[in-house]
């Protein structure tokens, strides 16, 4: 059960990572990269590393995503 769940989470990381690279629009790509981080945090939690999962969830999917958001807004939605 745990292995199946882990495989599912890993597949989600891969899919959101590919989406983050392939999406043409910057904003959805940003959300996809944050999602990859969130799934990585879930996988850390499943692998019994709650400390790392906490840091990953707070920094990777929270702060980094919104720093990207501010950067995108500053650079004119990635078109400039």
């Amino acid at each position: 059960m745990l292995e199946f769940l882990l495989l599912l989470v890993c597949a989600s990381i891969l899919v959101s990572g590919v989406l983050a690279v392939c999406l043409k629009d910057v904003l959805p790509a940003m959300v996809a990269s944050g999602l990859a981080s969130l799934f990585a945090a879930v996988s850390f939690l499943l692998l019994a590393a709650p400390d790392v999962a906490m840091a990953e969830a707070a920094i990777g999917s929270g702060l980094a995503t919104f720093i990207f958001l501010y950067a995108i807004r500053k650079t004119g939605n990635g078109k400039g």
């Binding site: 400390d51 707070a58 929270g62 919104f66 720093i67 501010y70 500053k74």
Partner: protein, 299 residues
């Protein structure tokens, strides 16, 4: 073509390396010797039920100090770079308006150059020349129009920038923030001070507090962060952290040794020597630093 072949070769090489890693993977039956040392010694020597925080703050104390120093440097350089960027932005705006004026000047001579041609030509050629001149005119107009468009876009952007703080977020966001914010800050503080007992510690708790600050800034775009106060708090936290490390050097086994305070009862809130103190200082420092970084990116 050559490049593609090179890229393909590199990809295949990486694939081989990773295939060997995946193929040779065996699940560990027992802990590695170093890990076993840590796992058996940390609860006895340090009195921390959460071994990870004990390792991070004591055995790997230098690494944690280095991480905090890296974060400090990141905050400092972000502040430096984005401050410069602001000054540049105002100057680049002035230069861009100058540049659009220059393009207008350039388009002026073009049309005047086209006109003499038109005057010189005979009636038979006049039509063709006229169409060419019209084309030139049209292109010049397009150029100025695009310049105007760029200008108006810039103006619109500036207006948006001015309006952004005034535009209120939706009711749901504001109310949700009011409900969630105290919970997030409390959870962050809990994670920080319980680092030696349960999962978490200074770094994680600081990141949680900073994400609460980020939520506050998102829900209230007009609010400002007291960056000067945060910088002072952060600097003092860093000084006290290194001071505790030096106390460990004098009173206990070495730099950042937390055993100069009594170990206390295993699993009690006040226990494990100076680890909760160091953890709290780390949490304050990381939270303040990340908040300052977010504020720099926002403004």
């Amino acid at each position: 073509m050559m490049r593609h072949v090179l890229v393909a070769i590199v990809v295949v090489l990486f694939g081989l390396i990773f295939a060997r890693m995946v193929g040779g993977y065996v699940e560990l039956e027992a802990l590695r010797p170093l890990a076993e040392q840590y796992v058996t010694r940390a609860p006895v020597e340090l009195g921390t039920p959460n071994i990870i925080t004990g390792i991070l703050i004591t055995y790997r104390g230098f690494d944690t100090l280095g991480e905090v120093a890296v974060l400090f440097m990141v905050a400092a350089s972000v502040g430096l770079l984005l401050k410069k960027d602001d000054a540049k932005a105002s100057s680049s705006k002035a230069s861009s308006s100058k540049a659009s004026g220059a393009t207008a000047n350039v388009s002026g001579p073009k049309t005047s150059a086209a006109k003499p041609v038109l005057a010189k030509t005979e009636a038979a050629r006049a039509a063709a020349a006229r169409t060419a001149a019209a084309k030139a005119n049209a292109s010049a107009r397009a150029a100025t129009a695009s310049a105007v468009a760029v200008k108006s876009a810039k103006v619109a952007e500036a207006a948006e920038d001015d309006e952004a703080p005034r535009r209120e977020p939706s009711e749901i966001v504001r109310t949700g923030t009011e409900v969630l914010l105290p919970l997030i800050f409390t959870f962050g503080a809990y994670v920080i001070v319980n680092g030696h007992l349960s999962a978490g510690g200074g770094f994680q708790g600081g990141a949680i507090v900073a994400s609460g600050v980020m939520l506050m800034l998102l829900a209230r775009p007009g609010s400002t962060l007291n960056v000067a106060l945060l910088s002072i708090i952060e600097s003092f936290a860093g000084v006290f952290y290194v001071g505790l490390g030096i106390l460990g050097l004098i009173l206990a086994g070495g730099f950042l040794d937390p055993r100069f305070l009594p170990k206390g009862e295993f699993g009690a809130f006040i226990s494990a020597g100076a680890i909760p103190l160091i953890s709290a200082l780390l949490g304050i420092k990381v939270g303040a630093e990340l908040s300052v970084i977010i504020d720099r990116f926002r403004s």
